[in-house]
Symmetry: C2
Subunit: 433 residues, 2 copies
Amino acid sequence: MGRTSWLPVAATSPFSLANIPFGIISSATSPLRRPATVIGTHVLDLKVFAERNGFAGLEAIQPHLHVFSSTSLNAFAQLGRPIHSKVRTYLQNVLSEDTAHPTVLRDNAALRNASILPLNTITTHLPMEIGDYTDFFAGIHHASTVGSLFRGPANALQPNYKHLPVAYHSRASSVVVSGTPVRRPWGQILLDPTANPKIPTFAPCRRLDIELELGAFIATPNPLGQPVPVAEAEAAIFGYVLMNDWSARDLQTWEYVPLGPFNAKNFATTISPWVVLPDALEPFAAKGVENDVEVLPYLRGENKQYDIRLKVDLTPAGEGAVPTTVSETSARNLLWSFPQMVAHHTIAGCNMRAGDLLGSGTISGEGERERGSLLEQNGGGKRSIQLVRGAERKFLVDGDTVTITGVCGTEEEGLVGFGECTGQILEAIEKPW
Amino acid sequence: MGRTSWLPVAATSPFSLANIPFGIISSATSPLRRPATVIGTHVLDLKVFAERNGFAGLEAIQPHLHVFSSTSLNAFAQLGRPIHSKVRTYLQNVLSEDTAHPTVLRDNAALRNASILPLNTITTHLPMEIGDYTDFFAGIHHASTVGSLFRGPANALQPNYKHLPVAYHSRASSVVVSGTPVRRPWGQILLDPTANPKIPTFAPCRRLDIELELGAFIATPNPLGQPVPVAEAEAAIFGYVLMNDWSARDLQTWEYVPLGPFNAKNFATTISPWVVLPDALEPFAAKGVENDVEVLPYLRGENKQYDIRLKVDLTPAGEGAVPTTVSETSARNLLWSFPQMVAHHTIAGCNMRAGDLLGSGTISGEGERERGSLLEQNGGGKRSIQLVRGAERKFLVDGDTVTITGVCGTEEEGLVGFGECTGQILEAIEKPW
Ligand SMILES: [Ca+2]
Ligand SMILES: [Ca+2]
Ligand SMILES: [Mg+2]
Ligand SMILES: [Mg+2]
Ligand code: NI
């Protein structure tokens, strides 16, 4: 059994004492955005905690206390992993029943009242200022299923797929925090792909889809022109979030050749609010999908993943609607590790900055019920997905809410999870032109 | 003949009184980055100018003077075009021989000494903090020539090309200001595309290329989910720069299917330091390439371009080396206007922020000597390009310096230009792994 906190933590909470993730909050009484951690059903306001000497027992953070007055976690991230580890361990200590620092918070009513807030009274915000967001394509089961739908089974995986972690630059401005509604996009759709000439229609997206992904935030920058060795790349990662890379499949099919997806992806990407540190996930490290080709030396290394139990729930609009779990899989289903992604991303000299976001690509398992996009589940729009109470879906309809959760570990030892990555689809705007 | 300045402005200067572009400078005596404008061979430090009441004669800017204490032009850009126009017109007035405000600067030795610096004593920096950088593909002559090389003449232009301004998200972190050296990238190269299986080699890029582009910076943000109408999109643009979208062709060929170019583009993109306002370019508005298909209503509007005379010079390394002009063309050679690009970029709901950068795509004319990339000039690596003094090139070699210039108007009326967008190729780093 893990250590217990003097704060109440339900066994089912993803935010046990074993977790201690970081996020950005505001509250009705204090609208300024500021760093916090979460435990059970409470958050600890790290700005107030730092200002009132809560970190007195942690020497290493003293020169850097200003990072907790920032409106994003970028400054904290940039301190580097050894400092993150120390801060997390110290907070675990301060929050545990048998704390070595009882007077800091446990027995300090004034600071408890000032710094501990019920989770249901605060608002979470984007945890990082995201400089660049790159989306990889490392979910091999997704890549082969979708590649087969788009290009036929013979060309399902491109020749480069197992030699490099395929990726494209995506859109940073439209990354939103969990809970933000997602407006159905308008765009160009080719209704009849066999027509000649091909004339697109202008319409709201009819094939609105999800992509279940894991996101990683960069902590440590590298200078332009200096690649990050794969063995050093793990140390450059600040932490992880869940991600829903909303995708407009009909827009994508028409626009993506030859330069890749664009408007099909840039209308919104939702991330969970709490950044879970690698330290918290380390006990759940697991081997990813084995690569059966020999990769180049700059990419060599174990394919280390985390065995995060991922779940996608779809809830239709309306009073009393209930969720249907449309997918359950593990984050192990990736061909490339995040360190391999960083190594490849920087091998030509690209500089990463603190706050840069890397998406894993859609995570699908091999089973029917393990697919991280609706496109894979419906066989390219051919089959319906059954929801509870008789409803069915091919793609998302207005009012649908999609909620991704991800959790590691056991209730006995204390769960390590991400909370929710959720968003509801709003109807498209009136025909714009 | 245009108005003249009381500062010396050579007829050949791109920075006549008719221009008044904006940039970010620092100097040995004052290393803080700050806004400035340039005229002839001098810059006017707008931080000092604003602090010492230089804008006294311009009511409209009074509530916003803080923007001139910023380390980027984002805050100034976000004030919107009506304010930019007023500031430019006021500065033209203050700097002109027959100024209506002689005591502000012309006859104010103290402020002249404090705020006017020789251009050759200052350092220019990135003018904007770039949130997202999107690269379009609107140079139709480039698209058809390169498409033909990559996919054969039958598939040169994809079916979507004339229906939407094709684009991909590119990398913001590696956009650098003119003068920054560019390191030859390492990457995966498929030496024999006919081999089976296809096994890439790891090597420094052998097909290092340029792309002659025009860049536009966004001034006015739009909220997520709210497209910008094409008729309103021009008002959202802050100004223009020259751009060299350095490209590693051999990396690109291997990596770009199916998600688009990635490491082939993200190792560096160079822009010119001075942002030229639309007002300054307006007298040189010209019709772009006519689109022979009927586009959807949200993209309808004239294809307004600027007749900027663009030139690409290549100078080998070494004492006494002379430049060869390898390309000369006009910025008119685009199928889509920047307002059309903005309208398309936002039609699915993507939000733009002040400081976002849009690249035009490579600009090539129809003639042999009008091609904006070496790939087009060398026929896909088959022909050599002759340089003066007997040297020749297919692609760039280490030590080569590429300099793009662009200028409008006449020496009589005063030139409106961008200055230089230049970079020298450094040898690849030692084999990393
Ligand atoms: Ca994705
Ligand atoms: Ca380009
Ligand atoms: Mg997305
Ligand atoms: Mg580039
Ligand atoms: Ni002088």
